[in-house]
């Protein structure tokens, strides 16, 4: 039996490839930025931030941000791959089921009604996470009420919620004043700033178990993507697996959006890029998406910081500008080659 061997080898190849991208990005990311700092000076006295500006820049302005980009990028790409599998729709993204709309609504309400509140580090993330999870639950309830959890019903429920909550979002935005509106618009573009080690620790603890759980779903997702009957025939409770997978992916999305806003494109582009390179086996796609998404977002953030430094570009704009052409390149080369 040769297939398991090639599957394993393909997984190894993808993991090495995307892992190399991530490792390279993590290494280069903190070395460059808005200014040129003397790296020797950073290490001469790394903990005296007040007296050593190079260390402050390296450990306070750069490193947490690079780590945040990796956490957010990995989570969004892994969640995207999960949605695409369970909804059996290649265009599904972490935002298809209205998760972002829910997060946006809660965030905007906080920005509108609690400006400058005391616990600012956690108020917006907390509200966004609550909005994201509430929306996911709502989609599930709606879909279960209308008979099981078939992908089409889930998709329609999600799209409808997206529009409905989106209208409420616009209404809140419309009645906000100038500065609040500007903050809302910027939040929608995604933003990897404001990372602290405390926030990173919370984020890591909230994401790691979910990564592990999702990475173990490769075989299930493979069978599910063949169709519900096929999966059921192999002893998989399709409804339960769908609900579980969507909840886990929505949790990851909610956590990522909560701290970074709806960074676009990572969740849809990275899983497809992995598929184009490494095939459709979810045991390959899921780890590839996690590592590749992390590396990709770190690279995008580096460019956002240095392209026209010290002026910064919005990260969501860069992911699309960079990712779009790269993805088209892959699509045209690999896609045509395969047909």
């Amino acid at each position: 039996m040769s297939p398991p061997v090639t599957a394993r080898r393909r997984r190894a190849r993808i993991v090495v490839l995307s892992g190399t991208l991530l490792a390279g990005a993590l290494l280069v990311g903190p070395l460059v930025g808005a200014t040129d700092i003397d790296l020797g000076a950073v290490w001469s006295d790394p903990f005296d931030w007040a007296g050593n500006p190079a260390a402050a820049i390296f450990f306070m302005a750069r490193l947490p941000r690079v780590l945040l980009a990796a956490l957010v990028g990995g989570s969004l790409a892994l969640a995207g791959a999960t949605y695409q599998s369970l909804l059996r729709n290649p265009l599904a993204s972490p935002y298809t089921l209205g998760v972002t709309a829910g997060a946006s609504l809660m965030t905007f309400l906080v920005i509108r009604f609690l400006p400058g509140s005391g616990l600012a580090e956690f108020t917006v993330p907390g509200a966004a996470l609550a909005g994201a999870l509430a929306t996911t639950m709502l989609v599930m309830v709606l879909a279960t009420r209308t008979g099981g959890t078939p992908p089409t019903v889930l998709l329609l429920a999600g799209v409808t919620l997206n529009f409905t909550i989106g209208a409420a979002v616009l209404l809140v935005q419309y009645f906000a004043d100038y500065t609040a509106t500007a903050r809302m618009v910027r939040w929608m573009m995604g933003d990897l700033e404001g990372a602290t080690y405390r926030l990173l620790a919370v984020l890591f603890v909230a994401s790691l178990p979910v990564w592990v759980l999702l990475l173990r779903c490769g075989r299930t997702f493979n069978l599910m993507s063949l169709g519900l009957e096929e999966a059921q025939a192999h002893g998989i409770d399709a409804g339960r697996a769908t609900r579980r997978g969507l909840l886990l992916a929505s949790w990851l999305t909610g956590v990522a959006v909560a701290v970074a806003g709806p960074v676009g494109f990572v969740g849809i582009l990275v899983p497809h890029a992995v598929r184009l390179v490494g095939g459709v086996d979810y045991r390959v796609v899921l780890p590839g998406a996690l590592l590749g998404g992390a590396g990709f977002l770190v690279v995008c953030d580096v460019l956002a910081r240095v392209a026209i430094r010290p002026v910064e570009l919005p990260i969501g704009v860069l992911t699309a500008c960079l990712g779009g052409p790269f993805f088209l390149f892959l699509l045209l080369r690999r896609g045509f080659a395969r047909d």
Binding site: A34, W49, I57, T179, G194
Partner: protein
């Protein structure tokens, strides 16, 4: 003089009369009912002595006090056309970005004056031309010289003193250093800082405002941070936040009121005075 020569002269004179008539007619029609949708322009109108003719103002106008009693006609992105027409203005001051509003007003024969908010010089230029349009040239000239003299005396009072490095912050995410919008080396606030004897740390960036990362701010190591705030109540918190940044323990933090200080108006003299007081506490008056 031959008759053909005479008829030529008559014809020329007639032509001149035709050309001059509408012009003199316009000159006679000095606007009597003025609406202003730009808060800075409203301040200029009142300062030059045309305040009595202002019949409506924008949603964000709050100065001088007389505007409180006037009808509100909308804001930059949502001007209220019906409201504007209802106050029957013959002259409307708008933002240059309000192009469709300009077309609509001109379509019904109302004169439109685009007021671009920018540098101090641009504001003074507007004061002069509004003075001309509204036939209050003397008032305008007075405002221009008062502002110019006021600024000149502020500049003189700090001349020769060492210039502190100043970071100007328009806004950031509350409680964090994310979404940090700062002043570059052009624009109203940059002008005020340099005039009041400071050096803008981002003077080399040719933008009125831009988003800087925390790194950009840390690396420029300012002596003074000037942050625009809506609520005075937050000034103490904001000061503590900045001083907690590594290397910023000795930084002087000055809060300015974003409700008026970001607005290029004749009150710029008061702003320049406040900033100069903060940057140079011992300056000669």
């Amino acid at each position: 003089m031959t008759s053909s020569e005479l008829s030529w002269r008559v014809a020329l004179a007639g032509l001149f009369a035709l050309l001059l008539a509408p012009a003199s007619g316009l000159r006679a029609q000095v606007p009597q009912r003025v609406a202003s949708l730009v808060p800075a322009a409203t301040e200029v109108l009142f300062a030059i002595g045309a305040g009595g003719r202002v019949v409506g103002v924008g949603d964000y106008d709050d100065y001088p006090e007389a505007v409180e009693a006037l009808p509100r006609l909308g804001g930059l992105v949502d001007p209220n056309l019906e409201g504007i027409l209802a106050v029957r203005p013959d002259f409307v001051v708008i933002d240059p970005a309000q192009r469709s509003l300009a077309a609509q007003l001109e379509g019904v024969g109302i004169r439109v004056y685009p007021f671009a908010t920018g540098s101090i010089q641009e504001m003074l230029q507007h004061a002069r031309s509004l003075g001309r349009e509204l036939d209050v040239d003397a008032g305008a000239a007075q405002v221009v010289s008062r502002v110019a003299d006021g600024l000149a005396s502020v500049a003189a009072s700090v001349a020769g003193r060492p210039s502190p490095q100043v970071l100007v912050v328009f806004g950031r995410r509350p409680g964090s250093f994310a979404e940090l919008w700062v002043s570059g080396g052009v624009g109203f606030l940059h002008d005020v800082i340099e005039l009041a004897g400071g050096r803008n740390v981002f003077a080399d960036i040719a933008r009125p405002s831009f988003k800087s990362g925390l790194e950009g701010v840390l690396s420029r190591a300012p002596d003074v941070v000037i942050e625009a705030l809506v609520e005075d109540a937050r000034a103490a918190t904001v000061r503590a936040e900045w001083r907690a940044l590594p290397g910023f323990a000795g930084v002087k933090v000055v809060a300015i009121d974003s409700r008026w200080a970001l607005r290029p108006s004749p009150r710029v003299v008061r702003l320049a005075t406040e900033v100069a007081d903060a940057l140079h506490p011992g300056r000669s008056r």
